[in-house]
Amino acid sequence: MITKYALRFTALGYLTMLLLVPVGMIAWKAFENGWAPFWASVTDPDFLTALKLTLEIALIAVPLNTVFGIIIAIMLVRHNVPGKSLINAVLALPFALSPVVVGLCLILAYGQSGWFGADLANAGIDVIFSMPGMVLATMFVSLPFVAREVMPVLREIGTEQEQAAATLGAGQWTTFRRVTLPAIRWGVIYGVILTTARCIGEYGAVAVVSGNVIGQTETMPLLVKRLYEGFDKQGAYAASVVLALIALSTVLLMTMFKPRQEA
């Protein structure tokens, strides 16, 4: 009995001190002086541009990383590709590298004097210090989530259901759509939630490649940092609360794909 309550107290206390108190404080601070200052902060043109940019980047990066994450997971779990462990290691790179280093890597490859940068610039495409670079940086850091979540689920469900579908006449695509995808649904959903959170929250890599042009290449996390350092703490808190709300609504949206009764 006593150990049970001790365990609960420890776990909940840990969560409270680490997560609930800081997040609660920011929400409280954002509305400390009522609605008016909050409203002023979230209708500021720079705020709106940053919000729009952040959402745009997420809307490109999340679907692409979801599709590629599923493809990579299936390739690594279901197929005998040579160099599997190497691919697995590469897949861990975004977790292993500091985001700032990721930004530098991208500048080296895609910057004006980088490997493909000059050719891309001649073709009229600016990658670094503009939207494409920021999307690339965001995709880089959020790449592994879907694959990492889906791989263990794929392993666990095994291949029998897929084989059964084949013997019933289903081709590869039909089998994927009607059997594999529903079976890995929870892994995909969880991966999407993590990917989205990382995409809208990324600071380091995006800061390096964006050039930080206010009202142009400033995303929400960059805005929060600038406002905070510029002593517009009210604005920083308001933007933080909006970021948290986006993350929360992603979680709610994804859990709306209700689980049906299954083992």
């Binding site: 029998e160 084989q163 059964a164 579908a165 084949a166 013997t167 019933l168 006449g169 079976a183 299954e262």
Partner: protein
Amino acid sequence: MAINALNVTKHFGDFVALDDVSLEIPDGSLTALLGPSGSGKSTLLRVIAGLEKPDTGTVSLGGRDVTSLPAHKRGIGFVFQHYAAFKHMTVAKNIAFGLEIRRRPKSEVKDRVSELIELVHLHGLGDRYPSQLSGGQRQRMALARALAVEPEVLLLDEPFGALDARVRKDLREWLRRLHDEVHVTTVIVTHDQEEAMEVADTVVVMHQGTIQQTGGPRELYEEPVNQFVMGFVGPVSTLGDAMVRPHDVEIRHAENGTTLAAKVERVVYLGWEVRVNLRLESGEMLVAQLTREEADALAVEAGQAVFVRPRKVRRWSEGDGKPDVVSAQPH
């Protein structure tokens, strides 16, 4: 639809799962592939289904070479040992799967599904999910799912292996009746000789990736071509280089010149049957199977010294393995 496998070989790394196997299964028959684990029986079934690609050899269905045809184009029905139920679909949806991907009209799918639910005795369970069914019910659902598209070949891989003994026996009888009604060419893989003998017209005994013998249940029991088949299709005791079935061992209290001295080690009563474990002077163990009346008349009990006479032993000469020497010793 007749099934033909010709010179099929399949390796898994260094392991030879199938070693130049040829097999002919006539249209409309019910055949069992019987063997211990690792004998290649499941691999052969999966090669026929297109779930495994043979290293060499060909497979034809109804005279058509399907060796390079993927599983989903072979028009077969397959039942897996662990059901392979689609967990996110209801029973009705599971059964409808093959029909829906063939884009059959909705009304036809509905009619066919309810017909199959009746056939496999799952009335009222159409809206359940597989996790809400028992093992036996899940396997009947899997059978209905396989039968829904009216396959010309039905392949079952240890279909009752994961079920408890009673359900197993019921389903086995049910499968036999179903086959008598539907007449689809059926192949069932099993490691249980009783199951194979009870269900199938023809039993194919496999061992170490090769077919040892093909024949009817009685033929396999009465005329096994080698020691492996004799030992696998029924209980057997070994006497030197010969083999004897327990019901061919006679126990007497008096010596008659052709008998061997033995000591009763244990007497086991199994209803009408009594099993007597004996130890010969040579140290060899022998099992005799008697009826209850025989045992009572003899009054055998543990520790008794008796004489035994094998009525019929089989011996295979070394090398060619084929000649079957049956010796019935004189009375």
